[in-house]
């Protein structure tokens, strides 16, 4: 990610140069790397502190689904269990070109958003939530383990 902001794969030419130290001034959150269960409530709190419109990029295999550490006892198996993710970047680690492609994909997605109608984005819809409940530390796991309104994995029917 830092290599993408440097000279060779310059991210500033896409208008995405400034990394803010505070979530209040940001409109994009890049979740890069493994999210532990101990850190997960903080990530959700930071997301809640961002003003609308806000977008999330899940960068790397660990942020998408837990990655190579999926069977770990302290690994959150994907940040999309608690917050809605707009773009996923696969890779371990993702190349700088992949991050640039993700920015371009996000910009295209924003261009195609409609202002009115059923398919308008979350920040223009008064019924959609803009803050999500922060998970608490339970005795054996986070409580709740996922947010069912956010995380809807596809159900695969297997034969035997």
């Amino acid at each position: 990610m830092i290599a993408t902001t440097m000279a060779r794969y310059d991210l500033a030419r896409f208008g995405a140069e400034i990394f803010r130290p505070s979530p209040r001034q940001a409109d994009l959150m890049i979740v890069a790397g493994t999210v532990t269960k101990k850190m997960a409530p903080q990530v959700v709190r930071l997301y809640n502190q961002m003003p609308e419109p806000k977008y999330v990029i899940a960068m790397g295999a660990c942020a998408i689904s837990g990655g190579p550490f999926k069977q770990g006892y302290n690994v959150l198996k994907g940040i999309d269990r608690y917050i809605p993710v707009d773009v996923h970047i696969p890779g371990c680690p993702p190349r700088p070109e992949a991050l640039i492609h993700a920015f371009m994909t996000l910009q295209k997605k924003i261009d195609e958003q409609k202002l009115i109608g059923r398919e308008r984005p979350r920040h223009l819809d008064a019924d959609e939530p803009s803050e999500f409940p922060v998970p608490q530390f339970g005795e054996h796991d986070l409580v709740p383990t996922n947010n069912p309104e956010v995380w809807k994995p596809p159900v695969m029917a297997r034969t035997a």
């Binding site: 269960k37 101990k38 689904s65 837990g66 999926k70 069977q71 006892y73 302290n74 198996k77 530390f137 339970g138 005795e139 054996h140 796991d141 383990t145 994995p153 596809p154 159900v155 695969m156 029917a157 297997r158 034969t159």
Partner: protein
Amino acid sequence: METLEQLKSRIESAVVGVRVEIIRNDSPSAQHSLLVDGEHAVAVGRFLRDDPQLRLDYCSNVTGVDWPDAEITEKVKVKKLVDGAEKEVEEVKKTRRAGCLEAVYHLYSMELKHGPVILRLRTGDRMDEAHLPSLTPVWRGCEFQEREVYDLYGIIFDGHPDLRRILMWDGFKDHPMRKDYVEPDDYEYEPTPHDEVLEKAKRHLQPEAKA
């Protein structure tokens, strides 16, 4: 540096009443360790740190081992009467090994540039008596590492200045690196599961497939 047998005899003469045992490690690394009993561990640690020939002043690693209750089966050659003639027969001998938790310390010397010397401390029990003396007063570097061993194995270090969980959160109840730790039943969506993940997926997906 001197051999482990010489070190053992010097520790026994320096610290009164200590019980030291050499545990051999027959792997290619050949890192044999000294098993020290809990009551004299701090005295042994101070001796190893202050002795002018050793000066083991750097504790590079503290880790834990979980020995569960196990039955060890060994094949032993025993002379027995078989068919009237005395022969050597292979018999299977079973011994019960009581479970315990163990803390392992790796010690190096920065001054004299030798090492490692490996210390093992065993607790009495896995349940109630999982107490060991903390070696943080001897080597400051043990502080965080002993917190990690407490967090993951459940060994309580008496005399540690700040014993609390370091990796898991404070309200967490289990000790994850123990052999009897059961992971929470977390539904992991996996497109091509294998082995144990496949078993988990079958348990979760079968009722949905039938519905």
